[in-house]
């Protein structure tokens, strides 16, 4: 199989396209999807274990045979199962089943953004000898297939948020991606701080620019309070932004001109 690998793996243009599509989508989701969006109980939040699972899944392209690729998936699932087992033993709680396993696997898949997810899954399904694809291994492969399906069809409802909030998140993630391409050196720090802000505002606010269409007279005291809160946020962001601009030695007028162009 390893000799045929180059011809059998991700050989069609369609597969390549699907791989890029999924990877780009996960890239956007990474910006704002948090464990609670997938109903992962607080008790099971364990960054160290998750990171380990992520690393296992990312190894999938280091191997060429379906068997070895499968064993990466299995190791990743094993890490999750160990986490579930530890939590159940130390908290004297019933061992979690798929209700907790699948959400964690989906979250791990988003965090890992495994290379060529679509082609890898297709390759395994096509070329793993069917008699070997039974039982436990098949179960965990099926879970990863369903994680991929979930990600492909993801929407507001499946992440426990309003569709409009979801769309806003996706849009700002897209914008975030573009700026990070433009300035790779400083994007790391800026990127994380903006996602933090997004999370805060996104959960309380549905729209990108609330109150833009409201009449001043019709505002309730509660809304005024909200507006004040937002005003503070805007000012903070503006300060951060102008600081960042100064660092990049870009003049504000220069920026305005470039926008007009």
């Amino acid at each position: 199989m390893t000799k045929l690998f180059d011809r059998a793996f991700a050989s069609s243009a369609e597969d390549v396209k699907s791989d890029i599509e999924i990877s780009e989508k996960i890239g956007l989701l990474q910006h704002f999807v948090r464990p609670h969006h997938l109903d992962i109980p607080k008790l099971l939040h364990n960054e160290a274990a998750w990171l380990l699972a992520v690393k296992e899944l990312q190894k999938i392209n280091s191997f060429k045979s379906p068997r070895e690729k499968l064993s990466c998936i299995m190791s990743c699932c094993q890490v999750i199962n160990n986490l579930l087992l530890n939590v159940s033993m130390s908290n004297d709680r019933t061992l979690s089943g798929a209700d907790d396993f699948l959400p964690i696997l989906i979250y791990i898949t988003i965090k890992a953004n495994p290379p060529q997810l679509h082609s890898n899954l297709k390759f395994i399904q096509l070329f793993r000898r069917e008699t070997r694809l039974i039982s436990e291994v098949e179960y965990y492969l099926t879970n990863l297939i369903s994680a991929k399906m979930f990600i492909m069809n993801v929407n507001g409802h499946s992440l426990s948020m309003e569709e409009s909030v979801f769309q806003t998140h996706m849009e700002s993630a897209r914008l975030g991606n573009h700026t990070s391409v433009a300035s790779t050196s400083s994007s790391q720090g800026l990127g994380t701080s903006t996602t933090g802000l997004n999370e805060e505002s996104g959960d309380t606010e549905g729209l990108k620019f609330p109150f833009m269409d409201s009449e001043t007279e019709s505002l309730t005291p509660a809304e005024v309070k909200q507006l004040h809160e937002l005003y503070r946020q805007v000012v903070t962001r503006y300060m951060l932004l102008s600081k960042a601009l100064r660092k990049l030695s870009v003049d504000e007028d220069q920026l305005l001109n470039s926008v007009d162009d």
């Binding site: 199962n81 061992l95 089943g97 096509l126 070329f127 069917e130 179960y139 499946s158």
Partner: protein
């Protein structure tokens, strides 16, 4: 790769069973209770609860059940077919104290009828019966519903351990019956998806003989 390997000595007939039920109806506890039963002949420490196996003997035939748990939350509902597509049996679990979870069960049944195996064996568990000990449990409606879809209803409690062995042996019995009646016979596992490479029609000319 595709050529049929010599059939391995099958110690038992194996079946795939999927567990369907709304989040937190106790489907995981139910199965753990069943698999870890103190009276089981082979006690293994359970290290995971999503995929479990159980060996049992029905009418002298050793059977292995692979039990596939599924995530029951509404947001994962659309993923169901990936799991139950080629299942031999489905165990549908609802919380006896929560009618919404029963409605979820009816939704799955409709889907199973459309998308699952034609011969799929279904059973419904009315779980958490220990919570309604004081009140009279009215399962008449659920029982007649179960009958109408060719399933059996069992009142279970994962906590008290009641009704669990019954439901699984009922499933196993019906699975075995179906397998006996089907043309496959007992020895063959049902065909799995994948590539099956079949040799071309034999060439017209006889294979070249050597050393003759």
């Amino acid at each position: 790769m595709g050529s049929k390997p010599p059939p391995p000595p099958q110690p038992s007939v194996s079946f795939k069973l999927v567990l369907l039920g709304d989040g937190r109806v106790g489907k995981t506890s139910l199965v753990l209770r069943y698999v870890n039963d103190v009276f089981s002949d082979k006690q293994e420490a359970t290290v995971q609860a999503s995929y479990l196996t159980k060996r049992l003997v029905v009418e002298g035939v050793p059977i292995m059940l692979s039990i596939w748990d599924t995530a029951g939350q509404e947001k994962f509902h659309a993923l169901g077919p990936i799991y139950y597509r080629d299942a031999d049996a489905a165990l549908l679990v609802y919380d006896i104290t929560d009618n919404d979870t029963f409605l979820r069960v009816t939704k799955w049944v409709k889907e199973l009828k459309q998308m699952a195996n034609k011969d799929i064996v279904m059973a419904i568990a009315a779980n958490k019966s220990d919570l309604v000990r004081s009140k009279h449990i009215d399962t008449n409606e659920a029982a007649s519903y179960a009958e109408s879809i060719g399933a059996t209803l069992f009142v279970t409690s994962a906590k008290a351990g009641t009704g669990i062995d019954d439901i699984f042996s009922d499933i196993a019995k019906r699975l075995l019956e179906k397998r006996k009646n089907s043309s496959d016979g007992l020895s063959l596992a049902h065909p799995k998806k994948g590539i099956l490479i079949v040799d071309d029609e034999p060439e017209k000319e006889p294979p070249p003989k050597c050393c003759s």
